[in-house]
């Protein structure tokens, strides 16, 4: 009952490129209890990130790597500095980031700084496009990023030790140990311990690029992950996930007076138990942010501490009313208690309760039709977001042995609870803010071809109207108001192709997005200069592409990441130039009995294209990295 094999369905649905044998490969066999919540988002676009690419990006941060895989509008303040990610014409606060099903966006900022999240230790990543608040909760307005760590039930152990050496004295070290016991008395344990540390010194041999300064900065990062999964024959599972991250970004490190330190730390702990359709999850997440300048940047920073206590209970039933028919109903309740201690807040100690009730229903009506209906009601101390339903369907128009063509569509409301900063910041915060509300409509078609060549093509059109968009209004001394209405709409194309040719397998996948995102409602005499104009930092055209050649254990990869010019002002009077970045990656592996040595040589931005941070400083140009990884297996491979 209710056994979704999401790992498998992932590989069937998206015939990805052959993965260079590694720990990642084993994940294909993973079985997880229940459906992942995004499986209830029928009719919406979702993009599981390519596992071979994830392996290639294992020494990078999400800020650096994700841009090569998906058309994400990043706002980067500099190398190793704060980087936020907006999807489909929205901003960082409209991107929900979930780790093992739990939202990890900072409650103070309402977003995740992608420069503080390393790819290392994460097992599966996927991008969910569009509004998903009915299934994922607050903030899933423009899109969501789903990060997962997963068990591997193949008995044995696997140790992986790696080092990256990069240009500008940017280095990273990491170690991952996975271990799984053989089933004993009906029980089996699978665990993973991972640790990484990096020092990004950004010692570029130049201080400016084409007239734009390169801001001196350095970033130290470390992280620790511990997963334990324990299951028995009766499909009961206990899980424990711990993730600690610590990120220190320093600006002007050589200047004792002007030096600025932003330290972002997070401790995330989840414990779960699942049995026959019931699951309980409890968690604790602490986010600590310290900002300081000058001599006392370390000793007397301005501090933000937010704690979250979470309890979630779900019940799921699956019915099989007939052949090719299956209905799954999930009922869930979630309680979260927030405690915020922020130097810059009125009142300093803020306590807040939030609760969510939701019902998710997925129905496979026939071989052709799949539909889902979801509803969530959130409750927040002081005010309640409106009920958030969504409705979606996928219909297979054609399915032959080699080809299938599906049409999909979805209607979804979404909401975003205003952040703690927006409500409680000294003087400027506005406790009376209303939640932002989105209405996302999308329509898509997917063609899949499976023969000697595998290929797929997906077209999606979306239209997302977001009202009560919050704005730090300069006319009122930057006090926050629900001032704007934003309409984001666009077209997306995703293509994938692969065909073995003798011993060589070439392949390609890419995405293109056309995004129009505009402010719709005038709110003062001069907002007429803004209404109808593209929002800042959102390129109209963006795209990513990866082409590869796999031969034996070696792979040659070309990555392309492109964005058209982005306006930096609301009235579109100023812009930063468009860019096309090209990366070249070569990976090869050497094996000897139980040991595998893996070497990866990577060249980033080979044409030395100029890209600017939101501070209009130049990001460093062309760079190189060599990654050396040793994998040691308990069993011969």
């Amino acid at each position: 009952m209710g056994l979704g094999v999401s790992g498998k369905s992932f590989s069937q649905k998206n015939p990805g490129p052959p993965t260079p044998d590694s720990a990642i490969t084993h994940l294909r066999e993973v079985r997880v209890l229940g459906f992942a919540p995004e499986r209830f988002l029928t009719g919406q676009k979702s993009q599981p990130l390519d596992s071979a690419a994830t392996e290639q990006g294992r020494y990078q941060t999400l800020a650096d790597w994700l841009g090569t895989q998906a058309p994400v509008a990043f706002k980067s303040y500099g190398p190793g500095q704060v980087t936020t990610a907006g999807l489909r014409g929205t901003s960082g606060v409209h991107t929900a980031v979930l780790w093992n099903g739990v939202n990890i966006n900072s409650p103070a900022l309402g977003l995740t700084d992608f420069s503080t999240i390393a790819v290392a230790g994460l097992d599966r990543l996927s991008v969910q496009y569009g509004a998903a608040a009915s299934a994922l909760g607050s903030g899933a307005v423009g899109g969501s990023l789903l990060l997962q760590t997963l068990p591997d039930w193949t008995p044995g152990w696997h140790l992986s030790l790696g080092q990256r050496l990069g240009s500008f004295q940017n280095h990273q070290s990491q170690g991952v140990l996975r271990y799984t016991t053989a089933p004993k008395h009906g029980w089996q344990l699978s665990g993973k311990t991972a640790a990484y540390g990096s020092w990004q010194r950004n010692q570029t041999p130049y201080t400016q690029r084409r007239g734009y300064p390169v801001e001196p900065s350095e970033t130290q990062q470390r992280g620790f992950l511990q997963d334990i999964f324990l299951k028995n024959q009766r499909q009961q599972q206990v899980s424990l996930n711990l993730w600690l991250t610590d990120n220190r970004a320093t600006l002007a490190p050589a200047d004792p007076v002007g030096r600025e330190l932003l330290r972002t730390q997070a401790a995330r702990l989840l414990a779960g138990f699942e049995t026959k359709g019931f699951s309980v999850k409890t968690g604790f997440i602490r986010d600590v942010t310290d900002y300081g300048k000058g001599a006392t940047s370390e000793t007397n920073p301005s501090r933000t501490v937010t704690d979250r206590w979470l309890l979630r209970a779900e019940h799921e039933r699956t019915f099989t009313p007939g052949p090719n028919r299956q209905a799954t109903l999930r009922l869930g309740a979630e309680l979260t208690h927030f405690i915020a201690q922020v130097d810059e807040y009125t009142g300093r100690l803020i306590r807040e309760n939030r609760a969510d009730l939701y019902a998710l229903f997925r129905y496979r009506a026939s071989e052709r039709l799949l539909a889902s209906v979801n509803l969530r009601q959130a409750f927040v101390t002081g005010f309640n977001p409106p009920p958030t339903p969504s409705l979606g369907a996928e219909y297979r128009l054609i399915f032959t042995k080699k080809n299938s063509l599906s049409a999909k569509s979805s209607l979804a409301l979404s909401y975003r609870t205003p952040t703690l900063n927006e409500r409680y910041w000294k003087i400027l915060g506005n406790p009376g803010l209303r939640p932002e509300q989105g209405f996302n409509k999308e329509l898509g078609a997917v063609w899949q071809h499976t023969a000697r060549a595998t290929a797929s093509l997906e077209l999606t059109a979306f239209h997302n109207q977001i009202s009560n968009w919050t704005y730090w209004n300069p006319e009122r001394g930057y006090r926050v108001e629900n001032l704007q209405d934003v309409l984001a709409r666009g077209l997306e194309v995703t293509a994938r192709w692969q065909r073995p040719l003798g011993k060589t397998t070439p392949g390609f996948y890419g995405q293109y997005a056309l995004t129009r995102s505009t402010q719709q409602r005038p709110y003062d005499a001069y907002s007429s200069d803004i209404v109808g104009k593209q929002l800042p930092y959102i390129p109209r055209h963006s795209g990513t592409a990866t082409a590869y050649l796999q031969r034996g254990r070696s792979r040659f990869t070309g990555q392309l990441q492109a964005a058209s010019y982005r306006f930096v002002t609301f009235d579109n009077s100023q812009f930063q130039g468009g860019y096309v970045l090209v990366n070249l990656l070569v990976d090869t592996a050497l094996r000897l009995n139980r040991v595998e040595g893996r070497l990866s040589a990577q060249a980033f931005n080979v044409f030395d294209t100029l890209v600017l941070s939101v501070k209009s400083n130049a990001l460093p140009g062309r760079s190189f990295a060599v990654n050396l990884t040793f994998n040691l297996f308990s069993n011969p491979i």
Binding site: E260, Y526, A545
Partner: protein, 375 residues
């Protein structure tokens, strides 16, 4: 063949993306910048997108970002100040990060960059004035810390030799040195760093004048203004004016004494700013603004004026009812130029007024118009 396919596929993609992603909105052709009104736009502080626009006296459109147009690179910070010394212009550039500020020296006619004076010599430049042939003073705060210890370092004047385009000397002064005015061979300097001094530097010798405080042999490097002060301006009576808190202060530069302290208006919520002299140097304009707590902190304010011989400064008859981000007066056309910033995330406007407050026109410029230079 396999490789050929791969290459063909990749090159089609590359060509496609080059056309799609590399096409930026085009710029208009450059022009000489000998005459007209330079508008200094601060940009949005953390966006480092300040710029200089040129407005001719007769045109109702501005040439934007003229430094970038000519030099194919941006200012990389707010345009904090501008002055000309013979045929050269000095642009003060303030970047949001420590160590990235600078002074761009340009050909005043073409705006072509001739030299860049950078950190650590230039850090937080505030104002610039010509003090002699081929010589300019630039006030600088030095590197600043964080509130409440904002002014950590002493301020200084960077002495610029325009014949060699270099900094010859740094004159240490009070913390937060700000406004500058040349009277004869003496340069008067105000500060924002709570030392409250009006300092005097000899523009020939670069020596800081020392004042006896009266009691015994105690000395001070300036006269006490009683508070922080900004812009200094010299009127038709050869008196200096500056704003200290909610007062306009008149200083006799010959005797180095404070002659008058005139309270500005009566509203304790408001503060005066942007003190600007008319073309005949007999009228002073100023902004008078506040955030209205009773109206959800909406910023409100007007523009007022007073005469240099007035004995009080009432704020009963506004010249214009708007909150301005910068003022300047063009002696040639006898018009007041007032910068207006709807927000620091969109282009601002310059409103042109006759001295009596009659609006002539308004012209869209760039982000945060906050200063003017008339040539």
């Amino acid at each position: 063949m396999k490789t050929g396919y791969f290459i063909r596929q990749s090159s089609i993609l590359a060509a496609f993306s080059a056309t799609l992603f590399a096409c930026d909105p085009s710029n208009e052709a450059p022009q000489p910048y000998e005459r007209g009104v330079l508008v200094l736009n601060s940009g949005n502080f953390f966006d480092n997108n300040g710029s200089i626009s040129l407005l001719t006296r007769t045109s109702d459109t501005a040439s934007t970002n003229i430094f970038q147009r000519v030099n194919n690179r941006p200012l990389t910070g707010g345009a904090q100040g501008y002055a000309e010394v013979e045929d050269k212009g000095l642009i003060l550039v303030d970047n949001s990060s420590a160590g990235l500020d600078k002074v761009e020296i340009v050909d005043a006619r073409t705006f072509k960059s001739l030299a860049t004076l950078a950190a650590p010599d230039i850090e937080n430049p505030r104002a610039v004035v010509k003090v002699g042939a081929g010589k300019a003073y630039v006030t600088c705060w030095g590197t600043v810390g964080q509130f409440p210890n904002f002014f950590v370092n002493p301020g200084y004047i960077a002495v610029v030799d325009l014949t060699q385009n270099r900094i010859t000397k740094k004159i240490p002064l009070q913390k937060g040195v700000e406004g500058l005015a040349l009277v004869g061979n003496e340069v008067f300097i105000t500060g924002q760093g709570d030392e409250n001094l009006l300092q005097v530097v000899d523009s020939q010798t670069d020596a800081v004048r020392i004042f006896m405080t009266g009691a015994g042999s105690a000395t001070k490097s300036g006269i006490d203004l009683g508070g922080n002060a900004g812009t200094l301006t010299l009127d038709a009576n050869n008196k200096l004016w500056t704003l200290v808190g909610r007062e306009a202060v008149r200083i006799n530069p010959q005797t180095k004494t404070i002659e008058a302290r005139l309270p500005v208006g009566t509203d304790p919520r408001r503060s005066p700013g942007n003190l600007t002299l008319s073309g005949d140097r007999r009228t002073l304009f100023f902004t008078y603004t506040f955030y209205d707590a009773a109206d959800n902190y909406k910023q409100k304010g007007e523009l007022y004026a007073f005469g240099i011989n007035d004995t009080s400064i009432p704020t009963t008859k506004p010249v214009a009812r708007k909150v301005f981000s910068g003022l300047g007066f063009d002696a040639e056309s006898n018009l007041l130029y007032a910068g207006f910033t709807p927000s620091f995330k969109q282009a601002g406007y310059v409103f042109r007024y006759q001295s009596d407050g009659k609006l002539v026109d308004s012209v869209k410029v760039e982000v945060g118009p906050s200063g003017f230079y008339f040539k």
